[in-house]
């Protein structure tokens, strides 16, 4: 297929946490709100005068300093973030808003605070820790609303003078939705039998929307969508099977590339920092205040395994099944970053349920934060999985599920 015009641009953006668009927005005197987890509602961080950046640590090498502080028992994502912070790689941030989501992320940001990694020369820098609900119910929603008001809107308003009125919030949601609609429209091309966009390309575009200011990305995303409308796929589909990739955070550009290089087309990205459900537009009404609507959207759509009520637990597996049907997947890959507790359990149960109850071929893997250090093993696992799906397809006469 012909290369997408802006793909290289987006790839280059992702090589640095402090990418050129972040630098541009800082020059535009916007406040950079760093966040670490999908449970912090993004629209509330992208108000007039602010832009959000989900922290990641591309091209992480050693993690010695962070391992000293956090030990080698904690997930590599959190250690990579702390390492980058200690190195000064996140000094562009003006504040950090983190949920007390998983223990590891919480400790990561607490270490950042205690070690004064980002706030050395900044009077107005703040760290906020939110309590986020663990159940999708009325009580959880009320908690979420209060936490967003107390730990996002209030500090932004009081510290940086950011407008947090209903009008400003509505505008922020509309802007957020625009990005989501673009990403979803691009993502829908993955449903094609011979898709005109690879999972890797799609991941690059989606990832960029988490780590760069939206207002500076939008033009290129719109152009990319237009380009895709007329893009011709390869004459012969290079992929042997289609998979839903689900699990913990993937901000490593090379991971999806590796999976696809083994012949498995990643047709749906159900992982943290992916588009499902991270880029589902928020439907607004005129009856309720914006914060309530945003929180309701996040609490109902979240697929994070820390949601513990039964409907959410069974819902997560149902969701993967629905995605597999919608995107015509042949199999499911459940992945987790090494030492991630929530996904360790979800991978175990989800993998079994999708296999035993929904009859999908399932591969469960854990992976390092940066796939460089485990590429060979991962490639072997995925290749074997692809072959097993092909054999099953032959045995079943091409019928799945």
């Amino acid at each position: 297929m012909k290369d997408l015009k802006h793909l290289l641009y987006f790839e280059n953006l992702l090589l640095e946490a402090n990418n050129e668009l972040v630098a541009q927005a800082k020059k535009d005197k916007k406040v950079c709100v760093a966040f670490t987890c999908e449970s912090v509602p993004e629209p509330l961080l992208n108000l007039e005068g602010t832009f959000s950046v989900r922290l990641r640590a591309p091209r992480t090498g050693s993690m010695e300093m962070s391992t000293y502080y956090m030990t080698s028992f904690l997930c590599e994502y959190t250690r990579a973030l702390l390492e980058r912070a200690l190195e000064g790689g996140f000094n562009f941030a003006d504040c950090v808003i983190s949920p007390d989501g998983c223990s590891m992320m919480n400790r990561c940001v607490e270490n950042m605070e205690l070690l004064k990694t980002m706030n050395k020369d900044k009077d107005k820098f703040f760290y906020e820790f939110m309590e986020i609900p663990m159940k999708c119910d009325e009580n959880g929603l009320n908690l979420y609303i209060l936490q967003c008001k107390n730990h996002i809107l209030k500090p932004l308003n009081e510290t940086f003078g950011i407008d947090t009125s209903e009008k400003a919030l509505r505008k922020a949601v509309e802007n957020h939705n625009r990005i989501c609609e673009l990403i979803r429209a691009i993502g829908d091309f993955r449903k094609e039998e011979n898709p005109r966009i690879t999972g890797y390309e799609f991941h690059i575009l989606t990832l960029a929307t988490y780590v760069a200011p939206h207002y500076l990305l939008i033009d290129k995303l719109e152009e990319t969508l237009e380009e895709l409308k007329t893009r011709e796929p390869d004459a012969v589909n290079p992929y042997r099977v289609r998979v839903v990739l689900t699990g913990s955070e993937i901000d490593d550009m090379d991971y999806v590339k590796l999976v696809e290089s083994c012949g498995a087309y990643v047709c749906a990205d159900r992982f943290c920092l992916g588009s499902l459900p991270g880029r589902v537009p928020i439907e607004l009404n005129d009856e309720e205040d914006i914060v309530t609507q945003v929180c309701r959207h996040y609490i109902t759509h979240s697929q994070c395994p820390r949601y513990m009520n039964m409907a959410k637990m069974t819902g997560r597996r149902d969701y993967v099944n629905e995605l597999a049907k919608e995107y015509n997947a042949d199999g499911i890959i459940y992945e987790q970053v090494k030492f991630c507790d929530p996904w360790a359990y979800e991978k175990m149960v989800g993998g079994r349920v999708l296999e035993d109850d929904y009859n999908y071929p399932v591969l469960t893997v854990d992976r390092p934060y940066s796939i460089d250090s485990g590429a060979g093993q991962m490639r072997t696992r995925v290749q074997a999985f692809v072959e097993s799906i092909e054999i099953k397809k032959i045995q079943r006469g091409g019928i799945n599920g």
Binding site: Y68, Y69, M70, T71, F73, L74, C75, T78, D100, C102, S103, M104, N106, R107, C108, E110, N111, L114, F129, E131, P133, M134, K135, D137, N139, G140, N142, L143, L146, Q147, N150, P305, R306, M308, N309, M310, M313, T314, Q336, K338, F339, D341, P342, A344, Y345, E346, K347, M348, V349, G351, R352, T364, D366
Partner: protein
């Protein structure tokens, strides 16, 4: 053989390759006679339990029941080297706990569909999590709050260090990553292996202690609710428990849990019963405070395993609901005051005063006693005993009835261990050094439970602060329920090495330095 403290080489009772010890201690006529009498009582308790046909049936059905063969040995391990008031304190606690667990087992098997299958009884049962404050049950005296996990995973590890290896392996066989905390892993393994009693009108699970508990509960509730048909309520206690803006949410969770129980059992919340329990909770709090205040002096009395194990049971599992524990609270206080007046000591010498921090190694709970006996390190208090000191409303008034929801929420949020591992670094890191000063400690022994990410994540900061304050910090690594990773000797060696190389000391009792207890219960 002697009645004097520290006069016997306690290591002599261990034999290479043996599960049990060669003999019990001679503690002088009086203390040996006392210990023997308590042994008879324990035997009586166990005999009364096993003589019931349904309990024998359960013994043959549930693998984890085999560990109860080791009950008297657990008591022996925790009374090692003790004399006088300390021996009596330990027995007061342990014998009550044994009696309480025997009753719990009896009730579980009575209602268990596989064993007693008493349906009428089962309708009055509310299953509660092991890692859960039972505060929501304080107003339901007509119901039975029973925990399946306590007797199937928690207690067996106290009895037999190898007890949970089988279940952890099962969970890993089913695809669970081995780096997760062994406690919820083992609980999940019991559920997967069809080794959990099935009974109850409903169940309350809680997200305490941690992510692991929250997620392990999901594995358990999948079977409990979707297959066994027992509805489950997940009580989500907030993590940032020191913040004001979570307390309303927490109180509402309690209201919702109570409404759930009422719906599924038909029982009605009883305020009289609640405030009776509240009084006992406050008594326990006051007693514990008095013991801790004594421990700040040169003559600590209720400390080590005497403090730790009892506090865990009384504060969390009992939560004021059992009057017998209030009697023991008073008894312990009386014994402690008695010993304090006579300036008695548990070991012949206290060379160091230590705060024990972190999550203890469950397969080596008597390690605290070993510290005293082997190296003269007095473990004045531990993280799990530094729980809420707040007294809750105990008089029945309309205002207090409203306050009660907040109190129950507070207790739930401040569950053992969780009140420190969650809630921000202040409660885990900063407050430790306050306690070091308050207790006039010269040493911190930090349990590093390698699968406890909440604790491990502060490793570097603990080191940095210890250096700043000039406090001896001894790391002791372990994997909670799994002695295959670091054995009991491995745990001891971490102290031995520190004491010999850094502190340049010789042990009080050299026979305890290296013990052949790999195969031991």
């Amino acid at each position: 053989m002697a009645k004097k403290i520290g006069s016997e080489a306690l290591g002599r009772f261990y034999k290479e390759g043996s599960k049990v010890r060669t003999r019990r201690e001679w503690r002088g006529v009086k203390d040996t006679a006392y210990d023997f009498s308590r042994w008879l009582v324990i035997m009586g308790t166990l005999g009364k339990f096993i003589i019931k046909p349904r309990n024998m049936k359960a013994m043959l059905r549930y693998r984890w029941m085999a560990n109860y063969l080791a009950v008297p040995m657990m008591v022996d391990r925790h009374t090692q080297g003790l004399r006088g008031e300390y021996l009596r304190m330990c027995h007061a606690e342990q014998d009550l706990i044994i009696d309480d667990v025997a009753k719990l087992l009896d009730k579980l098997f009575k209602g268990d569909r596989r064993i007693g299958n008493d349906e009428e009884f089962s309708k009055k049962v509310v299953l509660v999590d092991e890692n859960e404050m039972t505060a929501v049950m304080m107003g339901f005296p007509m119901l039975e709050a029973l925990s399946r996990e306590t007797p199937s995973t928690y207690v067996p590890v106290l009895l037999n260090q190898h007890s949970m290896e089988y279940y952890m392996d099962i969970a890993e066989e089913f695809g669970l990553a081995p780096d997760v905390c062994p406690m919820p892993e083992a609980e999940a393994g019991v559920s997967i292996n069809d080794d959990a009693p099935v009974l109850g009108a409903c169940a309350i699970q809680c997200n305490t202690t941690c992510d692991g508990s929250l997620l392990g509960n999901g594995v358990i509730s999948k079977r409990l609710e979707l297959e066994d048909g027992i509805p489950v309520f997940q009580l989500a206690a907030p993590l940032r428990h020191r913040e004001d803006d979570v307390q309303e949410y927490a109180a509402q969770e309690i209201r919702n849990a109570i409404a759930f129980i009422e719906k599924h059992t038909g029982a009605k919340w009883d305020w009289d019963a609640y405030f009776e329990c509240a009084k006992r909770v406050n008594l326990a709090t006051r007693c514990r405070q008095e013991w801790l205040d004594m421990n700040k002096t040169d003559y600590p009395q209720v400390f080590g395993s005497n403090l730790a194990l009892y506090t865990e049971t009384n504060y969390m599992a009992i939560c004021g609901r059992v009057p017998a524990f209030a009697k023991v609270d008073r008894k312990l206080t009386k014994l402690a005051e008695q010993a304090y007046k006579k300036k008695k000591m548990m070991a012949k010498e206290y060379r160091h005063r230590a705060i024990i921090w972190g999550v203890q190694s469950h397969y080596y709970f008597d390690f605290l006693l070993w510290l005293v006996n082997c190296w003269g390190i007095a473990p004045l208090t531990d993280m799990l005993s530094m729980v809420s000191t707040k007294e809750i409303a105990e008089v029945d008034t309309p205002e207090n009835r409203e306050q009660a929801y907040y109190d129950m929420a507070w207790l739930t949020e401040n569950m053992i261990m969780r009140n420190r591992t969650h809630g921000g670094y202040k409660v885990l890191l900063d407050e430790l050094w306050d306690f070091v000063e308050e207790f006039n400690a010269d040493m911190v022994i930090l349990w590093e439970h390698m699968s406890c990410k909440a604790l491990d994540g502060m490793h570097g900061m603990f080191e940095d602060r210890a250096r700043e304050k000039g406090v001896n910090l001894v790391w002791v690594e372990h994997d909670l329920f799994d002695p295959r990773i670091i054995s009991r000797q491995g745990v001891r060696d971490q102290i031995n090495n520190y004491m010999r190389t850094v502190m340049r000391e010789e042990p009080l009792d050299p026979s305890l330095e290296v013990l052949p207890d790999d195969q031991s219960w």
